[in-house]
Symmetry: C2
Subunit: 417 residues, 2 copies
């Protein structure tokens, strides 16, 4: 029995479901729009994608994707599992994607087509290796063996000079933060190039490390053209930096896997642009499918959003994403979920109750920088709240015990219970 | 006056349009969800994205994207042009994308958000260079200075042994085809690895070149992990190959730009997976916006689909895509449009009338392999039809003069007029 990949899709179609599934399977393996010479039975038996299961599920109210054939009112929706022989592409993520996530999004027989899960043989883990640091490696470097790791994003996102950045980092390090990251908008532009940021930030971090014995992890955004990634990484590491951030969709999953070949520090995987392939329920990738590829490709940390975030995702989606990246895959350990967007101390109890772990990076931008008492109180409010949540206390107990958390409510309103 | 990038979006929102535009501009430049220290007036003046124009346009029937706030019935739709200072990211395509196509797709104040165009300063062309071969370079290598370049895709897409592939290529070369490509599903898998395909195909092509003085261009699919791209390219070129194919979305635009740094032959840009970011009218990228980045990154050829294709795109979308890749950009010449999917000779007249040029690669898979008279008649039917179209003849004149085209109608029905 040869290895295979199983791809799960949610589809909608006005055709008979079985017919639509066959169109999809044919398009993505041996078929074209007419039967051709040499597409023999033997070729089809060995290389054709096979329908493993097809289960009708309830329709939603969403309108059909543009260009789909048939009467939209006759649409039905199904969960389709297709099995592809691994030999069709080998354990190569780029070539896998051509099969499981290529032209199929354009098939007009389908009024919706979303890749919702992927089951991959261990050959992928053997080839790509996955994250090298993960939870344990990150905790060691951060110097925080227990409890939620509390971090923040440099704000304003862009516009700070390297000198101003150093001031902000100094303030955050004094405040006792575990982790700081460049905003994804802060790349390698002329007003604050990576080299200048590294030169400004690292001496500040080292000074704090000398003082406290613990250096906050700073995720420098090394995103740029492929041939610059290694030198950007080396610049960070040679200056003593302990993390690099990669905007995965800007360098591609292939670019991430490339960084993973030379990275000597954890890779902080930012998912900017992910909404373009995932926000529609009818098109693209679910986070559950995509994160498997990102983790195989080496993401030690992966953004999942947090509950009550400022973006479109529901809490249920966020919690599913956090659970997904924490679930070991065949040959690949857990990645650290990065909770961000609209986060503050008042979300700790509700989050902890739902996820049951503190193996998390919880990032608050405005929630720390914008705290009425300043960044130090912002960090304290986060740490107090997470420690209280982990002890199983109520929100009221946390509020009673933490002046910093109480003060945060002046800006952010009551905590979520 | 500093350089800037202008990004055009179609948005929908239940908020006042101006308010939604400000949320978007803030999120993608200096803002976060609360005003923070150091987000000074000076920082905002220099780095904030500015609303250049905001024009209401008619709503469509499509339902709102998931997670958008407000009453969907109150939605309005607008064309929004945002201006970003180039200094925010510099002329780096990956970092540009974080600004113009990053987290914004997740903004819940927007019920639709699609990047429909980009105006980029010449600094991008200076950094990336764009295609090195384009129309003229491709025509020279193909040995076809005039008329549509007629090509095909190896079919069945996958499953042929290298020996069978050599047979197919021999047949196609005898048939007089200008161009042959690997299917995008044919990557570098164990049953027909790239090295074996190159070894099988190149002697066949060279034999035909010796006979005719002209070698068909074969686009070998070199798509794979980043560190394999250069050796895959070199394998093709050292064997005398004249084209490499890259699945752009599988290696990322960054991967394409990487290939363009060492490519010594034209890069055939396949767009598989593009549907995931473009099929929805409410999310992702238009082809017009995306193709600018793909061309800057080096695509000599770019798939546009053809009219009457088997995918979801309308003829209007296809024709707009063909026009887009043929329009020179500041510092960048035209890319060869690749018309494919469901193409056959009977579409030549309608296509030529609409596009007014033969600077095209017209690919027929089933239309050549599946022709009732075999591949040679398939190629003849395509070439006869395009030559007739270019002479300004009617479809009936073409049918009267070409037995191969007449025979094609037995399978494909009457030509489009």
């Amino acid at each position: 029995m040869t290895d295979h990949v199983t791809a799960s899709y949610v589809i909608e179609t006005s055709l008979p479901l079985e017919r639509a599934a066959e169109v999809l399977a044919g398009e993505q393996s041996t078929g074209t729009f007419v039967r051709v010479e040499r597409e023999s039975g033997a070729v089809r038996a060995r290389f054709a994608a096979q329908v493993e299961s097809l289960e009708e599920i309830p329709m939603t109210d969403a309108s059909a994707l543009p260009g789909s054939v048939g009467d939209p009112a006759l649409r039905r929706r199904a969960l389709l599992r297709l099995r592809f022989p691994l030999d069709n592409f080998g354990p190569s993520i780029p070539n896998l994607q051509a099969a499981v996530a290529g032209n199929l999004f354009e098939i007009k027989e389908l009024a919706a087509i979303k890749l919702v899960d992927l089951d991959l043989p261990v050959a992928f883990a053997e080839r790509y290796g996955g994250p090298r640091f993960g939870v344990a490696g990150t905790r060691t470097l951060v110097g925080r063996e227990q409890g939620a790791m509390i971090g923040t994003i440099v704000k304003p996102s862009i516009g700070l000079s390297p000198e101003q950045l150093a001031e902000v980092v100094d303030e955050l390090a004094r405040a006792g933060v575990d982790f700081i990251k460049d905003d994804e908008l802060q790349g390698n532009g002329p007003s604050a190039p990576l080299a200048a940021r590294v030169a400004a930030v690292m001496p500040v971090l080292k000074r704090h490390a000398d003082r406290t014995g613990r250096m906050p992890m700073y995720a420098f955004n090394i995103t740029d053209d492929i041939h610059l990634l290694e030198q950007n990484h080396d610049l960070v590491v040679s200056a003593g930096g302990t993390c690099v951030m990669v905007c995965i969709n800007m360098v591609g999953l292939a670019g991430l896997a490339h960084v993973n070949r030379f990275a000597r520090v954890p890779i902080h995987g930012h998912r900017a642009m992910f909404g373009a392939i995932s926000r529609s329920d009818q098109l693209g990738f679910s986070f559950r499918a995509w994160q498997k590829l990102a983790r195989l490709s080496g993401a030690d940390h992966l953004h999942t959003n947090g509950i009550s975030n400022k973006f479109y995702e529901s809490d249920a989606q966020v919690l599913d994403a956090i659970a997904a990246v924490r679930t070991p895959l065949d040959g690949i350990g857990a990645t650290v979920p990065v909770l961000s967007s609209g986060q503050w101390g008042g979300l700790a109890h509700a989050t902890y109750r739902a996820v049951g772990t503190t193996d998390l990076l919880v990032l608050a931008g405005g929630g720390i920088h914008g705290h009425p008492g300043g960044a130090a109180e912002g960090v304290a409010s986060m740490r107090d709240a997470w420690a209280s949540a982990e002890r199983g206390e109520s929100v009221d107990q946390a509020l009673a015990a933490s002046p910093a958390l109480r003060r945060a409510t002046e800006l952010f309103g009551p905590p979520r219970d």
